[in-house]
Assembly symmetry: C2
Homo-oligomer: 176 residues x 2
DNA sequence: GTTTGCATGTAAACGGTTACATGATTGG
DNA sequence: CCAATCATGTAACCGTTTACATGCAAAC
């Protein structure tokens, strides 16, 4: 899903500025499925405005750039639904960690253990973060997304902790 | 991980042509973590050759373009290890499916069920594919990658099958 | 006194995909 | 007869990231 569609989706849940959209991406509990930088959000918002899928109202502020609050228009809402009715692109999971593990036999045992421990810590942290964001007033779709995320992180952590020991006695090896 | 590094990694396991690398990506059991098109593989291989990280030997063929078989050089091997010793970029998982589910309340129940069933079928297929590729003679890192993949797919499928019913009685809704 | 938060934006660079060009062979 | 497999490559395009520009206020 491109940034354009993601912005449209977020705005369907309520008005927001570009800045707020970024925040929602990062710690609204959506960070596991999507992410984007300002450099892509602001242009996306401008394009959506040009196309009439969202509207802007400017709230002047002193000593700061004006807040530009975006709202979805009826045709924006229709466009989002239209996108979700068509065939979706496939999920893509890119894992530099797994890629590195594929070559664990070329790396010093120390490094492999650091890789594993780092990944375990990160996953645990993400899981904790996710649990914090979970509330009772979620829509079914949101509930679904959160619980699926939790399931996957839990299964991953479980697996990693079970298999971590297998890499404990690896032959130390020279790097480079 | 960029295509360049992935090619380097694959070649570390044995010589191959660009065409074969693509095949390995697709159905060597790595398709869950990485993927790339010819348009990125061939230029990557040329760049690696320029930089002296791989070498080429051309095998002339009749009625077909010459096979260009690539091998890693010692400095290529060192470069791969060097990359894996440095801090790795974070995993990124982009799921248009989960994104769509986030808006299930805006979609006709029919569509939501189709989305779920489609995703279940796809995951089941991927899992089956993964199991087929699993062999006894894998390196520990490969074994790890495969088993982790299996774990995640299994947990996902399990979750989906358990929660599918929740979307069965959704209010039908007009789209567009 | 430095970092973080608020707030918007642009330009260059990057990495990648898609589509195209070419063409024989084999299998269904 | 058509699709797939083998085999390499280029060019246009696309979406995104990174770095830059600007600047005050509040918190640490």
């Amino acid at each position: 899903m491109d940034v354009r569609t993601i912005c449209l989706g977020i705005l369907t849940r309520g008005d927001a500025t570009g800045y707020e959209i970024k925040k929602l991406f990062e710690d609204g509990g959506y960070q596991h499925f999507v992410e984007a930088s300002f450099g892509s959000i602001y242009p996306a918002l401008n394009r959506l405005t040009e196309e009439g899928l969202v509207s802007v109202r400017e709230e002047p502020q002193e000593k700061r750039p004006d807040r530009k609050v975006y709202s979805v228009t009826p045709s924006g809402r229709a466009a989002l639904i239209g996108t979700l009715m068509k065939a979706l692109p496939e999920d893509r999971h890119r894992s530099p960690f797994v890629f590195a593990m594929l070559f664990s036999d070329l790396l010093p045992g120390e490094r492999v253990r650091a890789l594993l421990d780092g990944y375990i810590a990160l996953s645990a942290q993400k899981l904790a973060q996710l649990k914090l964001k979970s509330t009772d007033d979620m829509r079914p779709g949101e509930r679904f997304a959160f619980d699926l995320g939790e399931t996957i992180y839990t299964a991953t952590l479980d697996f990693l902790e079970k298999h971590r020991a297998e890499f404990d006695r690896q032959t130390p090896q020279a790097a480079e």
